[in-house]
Symmetry: C2
Subunit: 197 residues, 2 copies
């Protein structure tokens, strides 16, 4: 077992997901995950703080990608353009490996409320990061918080659609479409049309 | 200790919060909470599934109040009017007791990531409940999910403002104002104005 195994992180993620699906999340130990990946426990803990984190590594990366993209957007950018830039920047973590494992990951998380809670905490932290980046560009607090919620909802919708799409379609067009769909509906919140179908 | 003590639920909530502030959440046991409230452990577990739940009892009630109010709204109601009806219905749980304990509760939750996670899970379940109620009235899925996020954000903003307000001001006007503030900003998401200040 090499201390600096290549792709250790990805191998641990794949091994964990395989074991969670086969034996259940609760029943799987960190030692078993490391063993299945051909690594040791110490290597696991160099990459992940605990067993739950192995399912949410991508989320910490997203938070930084989103904030950086908002900061780097053109000085003339509108709020929606800032959100578009943020979601497009997610492309680097929306890899074929992530797509291939996404459906199983969703199932594992949905089956365990402890995992759902961790996922929601990550989600909330990403939203806070988007909101802070929007405020730094001059958005008032409510606009920044609304922008962050709309951005996160667009990301979730885009992710669901991308996950179910065929072949290796890139992520950014899904993000742009979801954001456009939500923008139209946000504008309609102001309308006087009755909700009933 | 009476098996059917009056206000047992409220007494347990108050005792728990006092102990969490005095000794820390981790260090406090269910037995200590029950003891401080002048009740026993069995009574605690008749009201709450575990120690964390004692901080989030109101959330389960909110979920039902919101969904019922959306269902009962006039057939001509717009989406925003449905959300207004939902948030106004929260008034029954926005009691003087809740306001008096709110600031301490926020501090206790913020200091513990396990509690933050539970709070987020409750939040997500309420959002799902709003979204389902909006879909039942004919909203498409994205409109319902956006409506639920806007409603929850309005609720959070209104709660923060209400918590900090003087005297015994009722909750509904805070909810209506927060929703109006967000509605204006949602309409502006469509605008072409640059974000920079």
């Amino acid at each position: 077992m090499s201390r600096w195994a290549p792709n250790a992180r990805e191998r641990l993620e794949t091994a964990a997901l395989d074991l969670f699906v086969e034996n259940g999340y609760e029943e799987t130990t960190v030692a078993q995950i490391a063993d299945r990946a051909g690594l040791n426990r110490a290597t696991f803990f160099r990459h992940f703080a605990d067993k739950r984190e192995v399912l949410f590594g991508g989320e910490d990366v997203l938070s930084g990608l989103f904030a950086d993209a908002i900061q780097a957007a053109s000085p003339d950018a509108t709020l929606i353009e800032c959100l578009q830039a943020a979601l497009a920047a997610a492309e680097v973590v929306m890899t074929p490996h992530r797509r291939a494992t996404a459906a199983r990951r969703v199932l594992v998380v949905a089956a365990n409320s402890e995992l759902q809670e961790r996922g929601l905490l990550k989600h909330a932290r990403i939203a806070t990061s988007i909101s802070a980046a929007l405020r730094e560009r001059g958005a008032d607090e409510l606009t920044a918080r609304l922008g962050a919620e709309v951005g996160m909802l667009a990301f979730s919708v885009a992710f669901q659609r991308w996950m179910g799409a065929n072949d290796d379609e890139p992520f950014p067009p899904f993000a742009a479409a979801a954001l456009r769909d939500l923008q139209v509906r946000a504008a309609e919140l102001d309308s006087q049309s009755r909700l009933s179908a």
